[in-house]
């Protein structure tokens, strides 16, 4: 058997494996990993690693602990794989683990994350600006950079909900599951966060 034939057969097998994993859900892949399929973990890891990395990075405002916490989260996922329920949703489980790890970090760091600040908000600040609003935002690099700062300044519960929605792509129901609040609370936090971000962006770039 020539080297060329072997390589082509290997690449065919890899392509078939890639197609197979693309068609499989997170849950199927992770359950396959729990019974010994290491390749299945790699697939699910590659699907979620960058989003999770940014989720951690934004919550920590890019501090030096990002890599450590990111690795810790995946280590916990690997070690707790036997706890993953067959009827569970992988992404909510993953972000619950990440959230708990972040809470541990904030506790150790002395930063409170459980302050619910919506009651202190002035509802008038969150006035709806209508279909397109009085002014449209000109999306550009400068505005994106300002958005990054504003996300860092959001109250922790709003920041968390915003990132779970925009970064992890979770639904309101899934956000409620991850954060342990009811869906209405998650929804209102998300609305407050978006209104606040937009208000400040309009003030700066409108």
């Amino acid at each position: 058997m020539s080297a060329h034939t072997a390589t082509s057969r290997y690449s065919v097998r890899m392509d078939a494996h890639a197609d197979d994993t693309q068609n499989r859900s997170d849950e199927e892949l992770f359950l396959a990993y729990t019974v010994g399929d290491a390749a299945a973990f790699e697939s699910v890891y590659r699907r979620h690693k960058d989003r999770l990395y940014r989720f951690v990075y934004r919550q920590l405002n890019g501090s030096a602990a990002v890599d450590e916490i990111f690795q810790d989260v995946w280590t916990r996922v690997i070690r707790a794989r036997a706890d993953f329920r067959k009827d569970g949703v992988f992404i909510t489980w993953l972000y619950s683990i990440a959230r708990n790890r972040l809470i541990d970090h904030f506790r150790a760091d002395g930063r409170r994350r459980d302050v619910f600040v919506e009651d202190e908000e002035d509802e008038s600040q969150h006035a709806d600006f209508g279909e397109r609003g009085p002014q449209a935002l000109a999306i550009n690099a400068e505005l994106a950079q300002r958005l990054k700062e504003l996300i860092g300044d959001l109250p922790p519960p709003q920041q968390e909900v915003f990132l779970l929605k925009e970064e992890a792509g979770l639904s309101v129901q899934q956000i409620a599951t991850v954060t342990g609040c009811d869906p209405e609370t998650a929804k209102s936090r998300l609305r407050y966060a978006i209104n606040k971000l937009r208000k400040h962006l309009l003030e700066d770039h409108g």
Partner: protein, 241 residues
């Protein structure tokens, strides 16, 4: 449904991600994937169920209380060996009314050996129980009934005599049961069934059937369950035949 405001922020956030192109470092990816492969070859770590924080102090307190209780109670029991028996007897006394109610039936069975004492004793037991229940709370009666002076033995006629003595001793010593005396006196006026039975038999021997029947009817009223009743009726029937 996504409103326009939300869409604008979403677009801005996407722009931010494009601009920053944040990704997990390759070295970190390699380390995590290596760990995942290593883990496949080993069993998942058992989930450690940590003990609640309050469990050790609670266990310690329970141990101390148990030890202290034993230390206090054991010498007390050694000094007063009757105490635990009383406790057991008082538990038995809970079933006392049932025993008393069946005492009459027992007397029928035992009459061949001792038809004298048992039925009277059982009646006395009943009257003692009835009076005591009226006179005092059940609990105090149970306590009294289980005292050594009031040790009721139910199995034999000899024990029945002992019971009578016990009752007599006890009723003298306990003012609570002084009301029993009146009922005891009424019981004492009733003739002993053995004597009564022998007198009826004498009347039968003398062929004084009328007097015998009269005595028997009185006897039957007082001791309706007595085996002599059946015996007498049988004998009278055979005589008339």
């Amino acid at each position: 449904m996504v409103n326009k405001n939300e869409q604008e922020i979403r677009d801005a956030y996407a722009e931010l991600n494009r601009h920053e192109s944040l990704r997990s470092p390759d070295s970190l990816d390699a380390a995590i994937l290596a760990e995942s492969r290593r883990a496949v070859h080993s069993k998942p770590a058992p989930v450690r169920k940590s003990m609640p924080k309050w469990a050790p102090p609670l266990a310690m307190a329970a141990t101390v209380i148990l030890t202290a209780t034993l230390v206090i109670l054991v010498p007390e029991q050694a000094e007063n060996p009757g105490a635990p028996q009383a406790v057991v007897a008082s538990q038995e006394s809970a079933s006392e009314p049932v025993v008393l109610a069946t005492a009459n039936d027992d007397s029928n069975i035992d009459t061949s050996t001792s038809d004298s004492g048992v039925s009277q004793v059982s009646k006395r037991k009943q009257s003692v129980a009835a009076v005591a229940e009226e006179a005092a709370p059940v609990e105090s009666f149970s306590r009294l009934a289980t005292s050594p002076e009031f040790s009721i033995q139910r199995d034999s006629a000899a024990d029945a005599i002992q019971l009578e003595e016990s009752i007599a001793t006890f009723s003298d010593s306990v003012p609570l049961l002084s009301t029993l005396d009146s009922s005891e006196q009424t019981q004492d006026t009733v003739e002993d069934p053995v004597k009564w039975k022998s007198r009826i038999e004498e009347l039968l021997k003398e062929d004084d059937l009328e007097a015998a029947d009269e005595e028997f009817s009185e006897f039957k009223k007082v001791y309706p369950q007595h085996p002599f009743v059946a015996q007498y009726e049988k004998r009278r029937q055979s005589r008339t035949e």
